[in-house]
Every structure is written in C-alpha cells, then in structure tokens.
C-alpha cells in the first residue's frame, strides 16, 4: 500500500478521475504566468499526461478490470455525488482523451500565445474545461451532477465558439447554439425529474430496473431522445450544428464534432439502459431518425460552399449512421433478435470510434488550410497540394476514411450495419430493415460526391486566388496530431479484428448478452479477410505503380498545359467550382436546403455589370424556426419593459417571487 494518490491512480476509475481533474485545471496556471506561451506549453504537457493516465485506465476497464465508485462530498441536497466508469463510459472516454491531446498540441501552433495574447488564455482554459466536463458527463452517476457537467460543457464550448466574438457570423452561430443547447437541457431537466419521481433518487438507477410501460416511460424516452439528441445533432434538431462547428476555432470544431456530439449519443444509450425493455416503436423511431439524418445530412453537406460548414454537415450524416445502428440494435432488443442487437451495436460503436478519428483529422486539416489561405470558401481555393503536400496527403486519408472506402477504418463499421440489413433481408418474414442497405449505399455515394468535391477543389487543380498559391505548410505541432489520427484510421482498416475487439466487451455488457454469445455471432464476419484484402489492395497499388513507373521512365515524358480543347489561354477562374460540381447532385438529393440565386436585374438596353450570387437557405432554420421565433419575440416584446436595467427592481422581482412561492406553499 502506497500513499493514497498512488492507490487512486492504480485504480482504473481513479486514474480517469485524476485525468479529468488534470484536464479541468490545465489552463489555470496559464492565467497566472505572465510570459506568453508558458501557460500554453504547460497546458499541453498536463493534457498529454492526463491522456496517458486516463487512456491506461479506459483500456484497463475495456479489458475487464473492475473499477471502484468514487463519492464526492457535496453540500447539495441531491443525493450522493457518485463517479464511476463502466465499459460504456470507457468506450467514449478513450477517443475523448486521444482527441483532446491532439487538439491541445495542435492548438499550441494554431493559436500561439505569442500572436494571440488576447484570446489564448481563454481558449486554453476552456479547452481544458470542455474536455474535463465531457469526461465528467461520462463519469457521473447522479442526474444532477450530469446536468451540472452538461451545463459546464455547453457553456465552455460556447466560450470557445465565441473566441472571435466581433465577427457577426460568430455572434449569430453563438446565439443559435446557446438557444438550442438550453432548449435541449430544459428537456433533460424534465427527463431527470421524471426519473427522480420514478426511483425516488437522483442517483442513476440499476440497469434495466425501470418499467417501460405507461405514459411516463414514453415521455421519459422521448425527452431523453430530444434532450440528448439535440446535442448529438440528429435531424431535425441539428439547426445549431453547422454554424457552431464552422465558426469555432478549428481545433475546437474538431473536439466538438469528434467528441461532443458523441456525448449526446452516450446520453441516449445511458438513458435507454435504465429501462427494463426498449419499446419497439422507440427502436423504429430511432432507426428512422438515423436514416433520415444520414441522407439529409450528407445531401446538405454536398451543397455547402464553406469548408467547415461542409464538414459540420457531414457530422450530421455520420451521427445519423451511428443512430441508425443504435436503432437496429433497439429494434433487435424489442424483438429479442440477438443478431440485430449485436451487429447494430458493434456497427454503431465502431462508427462512433471511427468518426472520432477521421472527423477531427479533417477539421484539423481545415485549420491548416484556413491558416494558409485566410478563407473558408471552397471556391476560392485550389491547387493547395503544392504548397501543403503533407496536409494534402493526410486530408486525403481522412476523406477516404469518411467515405467508408477501403483500406481505411470507415468500411469496417459500415460492414456490420450492412450485414445486419442483409441478414434481416435474408431471414425476416417482413424485411423492412433490409431497406437500410440501399439507403446506406446511397449515403455512401453522396459522401463520395461530397468529399471528391472537397478534396478536389481544395487541393487539386490550379490555385483560384493568389492566397491559395502562396500558402505555407503547417508546422510539425499541427501535422503530428493529424498524422496520429490518420495512422489510427489506416490501422483500423488493416487491423479490423483489433478494432472490433475494442468494442466487443462494450456490446456484451450493454446488451446483457454473454461474451461467448457475442463472439459466436461475430465469428462469421470476415474481419480477418477484410484486413487481408485491404493489405492486398495496398500491395496491388504498389505493384501496379512500380510497373507503370517502369513503363513511363523508359519513354519520353513531356510537361505541357492542361488540354483546353483547343483554347489556348485558360485561366484558373475557368475551372469547375464547388457550386458547379455539386449543382447536379444537389438538384436531385438536397431537400433540406434551397439553393437560391441572386441576380442583379438587367437593364433593358445596356446591361449594367450584374452579380451572380448563389446562396443556400436552410429550410428548417431559415424558413421555419426563425420566422416562428420572430413571431414569438413580437408577442413577448411587452415583457421587455420589466428588464429596464435598474438593479433594485430586479431584487424586488426576486423578493416578490420568493414571497409568492412562500404564500403558495401555505395555501
């Protein structure tokens, strides 16, 4: 027996709690250090230490080590403040820690304190707080503690999002985000209050202990789906997502998109685990929402003109795919179909881990591009693979992985979802679920459109602006985190069985099916063969490249301009733009955003110079919610008289309210 802190670190849950505390305070010393950069360096080191410490704990929990429960003494009247970690928490904590470390290291070079003295301290402090609060959400075993952590998470991500608050776009995105997240939190209050009335305690109930019969259970399930789903960005609760992820600093977007959305999914999974059984309607609802989010999300992404907005919309698609997998599993649970449970959960968990690798990679890559060109508009870039060769390669890896193309990790997760659909198609008397396979294929197809457009227009072709031509490659501190993430993406494809083994214990404990049963169901899935085929593919590419190189190197090679079909003075502006590339597919698939074209009116005889400006109107936010909100605003404008800036009046309001409550309790 060593000292108490050593015992704590030896315990897997203890090491996770310690990592969380380290992360939370990583930015604090920076507030006191006057010399610029010192605090930032310190925060990076602390974050790396916390990541090593915490991932060791998470891996040990996944490997089967039991953890203790930690009680924090708090003076609040909401039962015990309990922290613990099970397989489900560990599965979410592992990517959280990895991505946090990558983002912290990247942030040191992306927003160096020497050049951003005004914002650096704030970003460092809240980045640590954001990751710590997400870890706390995953560790909390008390509803009120979870809500506190949830609020901390929402506020610290808002502080990060609003780093550059002078920008009007940031202001708008921040306001929409704040409103959306608090609407979601309000619904969560309802969920946890109802939970408390059911169990009599704010502590999480034992798994599968609450009856799923009756109206209250229905309200609870829907509240969990809406409250947590709004954070996850499930359509149609996604309205805040594109703006918030696009306008935050890139490494914050990476953390928000890669991890924070998943925390919402964790909430849904945790909430469902309280109930004795999952109702069938809930499973189908989740499945349909997932499928809808996947198709509508990627269709929305394909028409975006802003680099980071595109990536954000593609997050809606990926969350949709994960939710689709969860839906398959929930339907399986309701109809006691073990194969659907296992394949749906494995597919969802694998895609969750995969998305936490390739989406941060792409967002970090977008930061490099924004650094180099100073813009987020896809149509103003082009030819970046010359000034940014390494970023180009890493971004390509991320793009292939997110499309689910072999030999990367994305394919492995989708494989399970497809197999679930095919199995259902083969054996079920009414194979509704088989329709998910063509749906996923369609989503994969649109994803290829989106990412060919993104990669092609950013990195290939001729630079469209002078800024794009004279960009500079990122420093190693930005490239190393991206390379780590890309390496994991490739490893996930080449060592698919390893990736599956990571999530299998979680599936087993979450579904309550035994380890051997899960293993037995997964055994026919050809993970090893897929890995070998991925290796064969890489080998084949290498072999054909060598043959081609031999053929080319023995013959004359000439460099010339791109053939312009006889036109001799092509310019970079004549290239196909992103809007043009996506126009055809957008006209077919995109239903949630309307492209509108603003054309200046032409004069009847002598046309003045006119402006062609394509813009994207998002149907739900711009056409539905904003007009409704404006109406609500108008209805309640008389209330503004109460808010007149006099402090004594505000104190009076509080007094009157308290007095009224006191009187009410006596009546």
């Amino acid at each position: 027996m060593g000292p108490a802190w050593l015992d704590c670190i030896n315990d897997p849950v203890g090491s996770l709690v310690a990592a969380m505390v380290l992360l939370a305070f990583s930015g604090v010393p920076g507030l006191l250090i006057r010399q610029p950069g010192g605090g930032q360096r310190f925060a990076v080191i602390v974050t790396l230490v916390a990541t090593l410490l915490g991932s060791a704990g998470a891996v040990r929990i996944l490997a089967g080590a039991g953890g203790s429960r930690y009680l924090v003494a708090w003076p609040l009247p909401f039962d015990r403040c309990e922290l613990a970690a099970d397989h489900l928490s560990a599965l979410f904590l592992l990517p959280l820690l990895l991505v946090t470390a990558c983002c912290a290291l990247y942030g040191r070079a992306y927003l160096p304190a020497e050049q951003h003295p005004a914002t650096e301290k704030r970003v460092t402090l809240f980045l640590g707080l954001l990751s710590a609060s997400m870890a706390l959400v995953l560790l909390a075993r008390n509803g009120v503690l979870l809500l506190l952590a949830w609020e901390l998470m929402a506020l610290s991500s808002w502080m990060l999002l609003a780093t550059n608050l002078r920008d009007r776009q940031v202001q708008r995105a921040g306001t929409v985000y704040l409103l959306a997240t608090h609407t979601g939190t309000m619904v969560l209050y309802l969920f946890f209050s109802l939970l408390q009335t059911r169990t009599g305690s704010f502590l999480f109930p034992v798994e599968h202990s609450i009856s799923s019969q009756g109206g209250i259970a229905v309200i609870m399930l829907l509240a969990a789906l809406i409250g947590f789903g709004a954070k996850a960005g499930i359509m149609p609760l996604h309205i805040w997502l594109p703006g918030a992820h696009a306008n935050a600093p890139s490494h914050v977007s990476a953390l928000m998109s890669g991890i924070m959305l998943k925390v919402g999914l964790y909430g849904i999974l945790r909430a469902v685990s309280f109930f004795q059984a999952v109702p069938l309607w809930f499973g189908w609802l989740v499945l349909v929402l997932g499928g809808g989010s996947a198709v509508a999300g990627i269709a929305l992404a394909s028409s975006q003109r802003d680099l980071k907005r595109l990536l954000a919309c593609s997050s809606i698609e990926n969350i949709g795919i994960i939710v689709l997998g969860l839906g398959i599993a929930f339907v399986g649970m309701a109809s006691t179909n073990q194969l659907l449970i296992v394949f749906g959960l494995i597919g969802a968990f694998l895609h969750l881990v995969n998305h936490a690798l390739f989406k941060p990679l792409l967002f970090l890559g977008s930061g490099v591009i924004i650094h180099a060109t100073g813009t987020r508009q896809i149509d103003q870039m082009g030819g970046l693979s010359r000034p940014l060769p390494r970023t180009s390669l890493l971004f390509l890896a991320g793009s292939l992985a997110i499309c689910g193309l072999p030999p990367f990790n994305g394919f492995v997760g989708e494989l399970f979802l497809y197999l679930a659909a095919f199995q259902e198609g083969m054996h079920a008397p009414l194979p509704f679920m088989a329709f998910t396979a063509p749906l996923l294929a369609l989503v994969g197809g649109i994803a290829v459109i989106t990412f060919v457009k993104l990669y092609g227009l950013l990195f290939l072709g001729a630079p469209r602006t002078p800024e794009a031509a004279h960009g500079h490659e990122a420093p190693a501190a930005m490239l190393v985190p991206m390379a780590v993430l890309a390496g994991f993406c490739l490893l996930g494809g080449l060592a698919a069985p390893l990736l599956a083994r990571l999530v299998m214990p979680v599936v087993s404990t979450y579904s309550g099916l035994g380890q051997t049963l899960v293993m037995g169901l997964v055994a026919p899935v050809p993970l090893r063969t897929v890995s070998i085929m991925n290796g064969l593919l890489l080998g084949g590419i290498l072999l054909i490249w060598l043959i081609w190189h031999q053929l080319v190197s023995h013959r004359p090679v000439v460099s010339a301009d791109t053939w312009g079909c006889g036109f001799l003075a092509p310019t970079a502006r004549m290239q196909y733009t992103g809007s043009a590339f996506a126009e055809l597919s957008g006209s077919i698939f995109n239903t949630s955003a309307i492209p509108s074209v603003r054309l200046a009116a032409l004069q009847p005889l002598f046309a003045a110079p006119s402006l062609f400006c394509p813009a994207l109107t998002e149907r739900i936010l711009d056409r539905l919610l904003l007009p409704v909100m404006t109406g609500v605003d108008w209805c309640f404008s008389w209330l503004r008289r109460m808010q007149n800036g006099h402090l004594y009046l505000y104190m009076l309001y509080i007094f009157v309210t308290l007095f009224a409550l006191m009187v009410w309790s006596y009546i």
Partner: protein
C-alpha cells in the same frame, strides 16, 4: 487447378475482346466493315509503348488515379464467379467490399480528373459521381433480393444460384432483377444511352471527358480498367440470365465465353438502335431501375 488457370487467364485477357465485339456489332449495324475485333489489344499494346504528357497543373494524385483504379478493379474482379465457376476469393459479405472497391476507384478517377484543373473534366467528374450514386441503391436491392433467394451472403453463391428451376418458379423476379442489373451495367460502364464512349468533345459525355489528359501507359491502364469493369459486371449479368449449367468444367467455360460474347453483341445492338438520353433524363431512368429492383424485392418477400 486447370480451371483456376483458365479463370485467371480469362479474367486478365478477355476484357478488351468485349470492346472489340461491341465495336464490330456497331459497325455492322452502320453498314461499315469496322475495325478488327482485336483492335482494343493493338491499342493497348501501342499505348503501353508510348511516351507520356503530364499537365503542369497536375500532382501525384493525377498519376495515382489510373493505378489505384486498376488495382481496385482487379481486386474486385477476383470476387466474381465466372459462369458456373466459383470466384477466386469468396467470403460472406464480399459483395460489400466489391461495391466499395468500385467506390474507391471512382474516388481516384474523379480526383485525377479534377487535378487537371480543366472545366471539362470537372464537369465529367461531377456527372460520374452523381450518376454512380443513383446506381448504387439498384445494385444493393439486386444483392439483397439474391441474398434472400440463395440464402447466402457472398457474390460467389448468389450469382451461381440462378438455374433453370429458379427461372421457372420465380421468373418475374429474375426478369425484374436482370433488367435492373442491365441498366446498372450500361450506366456504370458509361455506355449508350447514358454516355457515348466514342465521343470526346461533346458536352454530354461523362467517362471519356474525365480521362482527356491521360496519355501513354496511364491511358492504356484506364482503357484496360474500363474493359475489366465491363467484363466483371457483365459476368454478374450473364450469371443471372444464364440458367444452363452442365456441371462439367470445360463445357461450362465454353458456355460462359459464348454468353459473354453474346452480351457484347447485345450491348452493341443497344448502342446501335438507341440514341443517347438527354442528361436530365438520365437520373429518371436510373431511379426507374432502382424501383424495378425494389419491385423484385417486394415480389420475393410476398
């Protein structure tokens, strides 16, 4: 063993022959003598000996495009059964890798096209990815229907399952499936009525415009890869519509080769008697094919 050798040799050598037969058929319809049937082989041999021209705009992605495309197509080809002969590589779920390998090929072909910076090639790339995206659901409906009929999750078993008995008992399903797959085959291989492989400089074409800037051995690899893709998808189609099996390897090879040549003639006939569709009509036909295959699934569930 002999069968495997024949399998590999056929897979590697036969694809360009199909193009030759198609062109000969078209020439016959047009009243021309036409190029020799072996002309695609001569073209390939000539291209492999030529020098290369690279645009100054291009990077390594342009050079990797044909290489990755060919590697992915070859790997996919190994998973396809030829006639009554099982695929060289077969495992449950191989149809998914098959479909995604073509996705990888498409990603690199279109990226290589965008790498030239030519608006023509950008246009072709946009069309290629969009139409392929509409073909994908058709392919998956066909696969699911076949999986349900054959109770199998591997291309090898799914596509050797159709027999005379199957055609007699569920002819309607097979008819719908084969029609849908034929439309998908024409669209994926950029044949008329979707695309005209003979024109280079018209605003309506897709595949040919994407490869305008490739030259020499790389262009040879593209032509060969395209022929291989036609051969692979054609082999799937002939397996579906060909219910004759002797069970004896050598006659089976004969039947397969004759069937593939007939398929090439069929494609030639379609190309001769049909005009290319207007671009706006193409999505409609592709969606129609998806609905045909979805009907097949409904019928088999009933």
């Amino acid at each position: 063993m002999v069968s495997s050798v024949i399998h590999v040799v056929l897979l590697l050598v036969m694809p360009p022959l199909l193009l030759g037969v198609i062109n000969k058929t078209k020439a016959a319809f047009a009243g021309r003598k036409g190029a020799p049937i072996l002309q695609p082989y001569y073209d390939l041999a000539r291209l492999l000996q030529k020098g290369s021209v690279f645009s100054t705009t291009t990077t390594w992605v342009f050079r990797a495009g044909p290489v990755v495309t060919l590697a992915a197509t070859l790997l996919a080809a190994l998973m396809v059964p030829l006639g009554n002969h099982p695929a060289l590589i077969s495992f449950p779920g191989d149809m998914l890798l098959f479909a995604y390998l073509f996705g990888l090929a498409r990603f690199f072909t279109t990226s290589a096209a965008l790498d030239t910076g030519s608006s023509f090639e950008g246009m072709g790339a946009a069309r290629e990815v969009t139409y392929a995206c509409l073909v994908e659901p058709t392919l998956f409906f066909v696969l699911i229907t076949l999986a349900r009929m054959s109770k199998s999750l591997s291309l090898g078993t799914m596509f050797t399952y159709p027999s005379l008995q199957v055609w007699l008992t569920s002819g309607a399903v097979m008819l719908l499936l084969s029609n849908a797959l034929f439309i998908a085959l024409l669209a994926e291989n950029c044949r008329i009525p979707f695309d005209d492989p003979n024109t280079h400089l018209e605003l309506t074409m897709i595949h040919e415009v994407m490869v305008l800037d490739h030259s020499g051995p790389a262009f040879g690899m593209i032509l060969y890869g395209a022929a291989l893709k036609l051969f692979v998808l054609g082999a799937l189609f002939t397996n579906l519509i060909l219910p004759f099996k002797t069970g004896n390897p050598l006659p089976d090879w004969g039947i397969f080769i004759v069937a593939m040549l007939y398929l090439a003639v069929l494609i030639g006939v379609v190309e001769s008697v049909m005009a290319r569709l207007r671009l706006v009509r193409i999505p409609q036909l592709l969606v129609a094919a998806t609905i045909l295959s979805a009907f097949a699934m409904l019928l088999i569930v009933r």
